[in-house]
């Protein structure tokens, strides 16, 4: 059996600096959930298809299951736990609550972060861009209509709230 080297890496997760001792065959998802207890990021398909493990790496949405743990050295990671600041929810989280865009909730953390990348780049996206931005996130409850509405509501271009 091959003797594996353990590695010490430094990284930033949810605006906090970490020095972590990791095994190189772990993924970012393993580190978040098993080592740091940040279980908001969900373990879904583990083949990069469902988007449940989506986090932001330097502001870009990535599948945490497809990032090898050593690759987060020096990078900035944002998970769903880092969206709210103190007790203040992110405008996307508020909008998801308001528009009942959470059904079982398993896809929600990933949906929020994919939506955040979009709104950070374009605060006023048309609906087609919203659908394109969340095309890597599956909602098995099929609650896409409410999710798209919530993202629209959180964008600068707020549609009229339905009565």
């Amino acid at each position: 059996m091959l003797q594996m080297n353990t590695l010490t890496i430094t990284t930033t997760i949810n605006r906090r600096n970490y020095t972590l001792c990791i095994n190189p065959n772990q993924t970012l998802l393993d580190i978040l959930r098993e080592e740091l207890g940040l279980s908001g990021t969900k373990r879904g398909c583990e083949i990069g298809e469902c988007g449940a493990c989506t986090v932001l790496m330097n502001g870009r949405a990535v599948n945490a299951c497809l990032v090898l743990a050593p690759q987060i050295e020096g990078q900035e990671i944002l998970t769903v736990e880092g969206l709210a600041v103190g007790e203040q929810l992110h405008s996307l989280q508020e909008a998801f609550l308001e528009h009942e865009a959470v059904h079982c909730g398993f896809c929600t953390p990933g949906m929020l972060l994919s939506a955040k990348e979009l709104l950070d780049e374009n605060p006023n996206p048309p609906e087609t861009d919203i659908r394109f931005a969340i095309s890597g996130n599956l909602c098995r409850c099929t609650g896409y209509v409410q999710i798209v509405e919530a993202i629209q509501a959180a964008s600068a271009n707020k549609p009229e709230r339905k009565p």
Binding site: M1, L2, M4, N5, L7, N23, P24, N25, Q26, T27, E46, I47, G48, E49, G51, T54, M57, R60, A61, V62, N63, C65, L66, V67, L68, P70, Q71, E73, S114, E117, F132, A133, S135, G136, N137
Partner: protein, 285 residues
């Protein structure tokens, strides 16, 4: 995932040295969107040594000048699809980058990884072959340049030796008058794997006569190539539905000649012909 010895290269020179030292039980890791899935399979054959090249800044970016584009292999699909230089001078590559995987995959997956993984369904490969792209492979002992279509032996196998690293992809910008297209046929919109695809380039003179045609189907032949047999039909002719249908039929016949009859042939035979026809029509709108 089985254990392996992990090394992070900090520059290209170091990566080449590590490759030479550990060859042949070694694998390069870039975006990881293919490899991590592969390594997690229960039957996976994981490499003993992994060299992570994802931090090599000199291997990232798109250079445009002197009528050509140099694509560094660690450029992500997201960077390609947003690049104004690619949109202007190689729009078919931009289209291909847009339909790969998902936003998350495009943010991590690299064009170099897409090429070197050598899957028959790799979406950036047909456009790059249609652009007559060349690739540069480097090892400690030599640096060699070859046409991209000569890189591939068969699906998942290239002529690159284990001590060689892909360090550049380059191609001439399309002439201003040339039009190009890329059509992907998948089972759904996002996160789909190409069942078939077609990259096409057509240039016409003032009289509307086709002066140059390039057709490269994806997931169609055991080895990627320009279908010169079909291209020849087009050059010197004017665009027409019959002409494009003939080109499509030629591609379809050659596909069967080279791959034989498979369970999917009944579907693919008419469909590849239509896709070729549509790709050519898109170039002549």
């Amino acid at each position: 995932m089985k254990p392996f010895n992990y090394m992070r290269a900090t520059n290209l020179h170091e990566a080449i040295g590590l490759l030479a030292h550990h060859t042949p039980n070694v694998c390069l890791l870039a975006g990881g969107t293919d490899l991590l899935i592969e390594w997690r399979r229960p039957s996976a054959c994981t490499p003993e040594n992994v060299i992570d090249i994802s931090a090599l800044t000199e291997m990232k970016g798109i250079e445009s000048g002197n009528g050509r584009i140099v694509l560094k292999p660690l450029t992500t699909h997201a960077q390609i699809l947003k690049s104004q230089a690619i949109i202007e001078s190689a729009p078919l590559l931009s289209v291909a980058a847009t339909v790969i995987g998902s936003p998350q995959i495009r943010n991590r997956g690299t064009v170099g990884g897409n090429i070197m993984n050598a899957a028959a369904c790799a979406d950036t490969v047909p456009p790059l072959i249609a652009l007559n792209a060349e690739v540069v492979l480097q090892s400690e002992s030599e640096r060699r340049t070859l046409p991209l279509h000569e890189l591939f032996l068969k699906p998942y196998e290239t002529v690159a030796r284990p001590d060689e690293i892909l360090c550049e992809i380059r191609f001439e910008k399309l002439p201003v008058k040339a039009r190009s297209s890329f059509i992907k046929l998948g089972r759904r919109n996002a996160l789909s794997i190409s069942r078939l695809s077609v990259a096409a380039v057509v240039a016409r003179d003032e009289a509307g006569v086709i002066t140059n045609a390039r057709i490269v189907p994806g997931a169609t032949f055991p080895r990627w190539r320009r279908v010169v047999e079909a291209e020849k039909l087009l050059v010197g002719e004017k665009a027409s539905a019959e002409l494009f249908r003939a080109a499509g039929d030629t591609v379809s016949e050659l596909m069967i000649a080279e791959t034989g009859h498979r369970w999917s042939t009944e579907y693919k035979e008419p469909v590849i012909a239509v896709l070729v026809q549509r790709a050519l029509e898109q170039c002549c709108r």
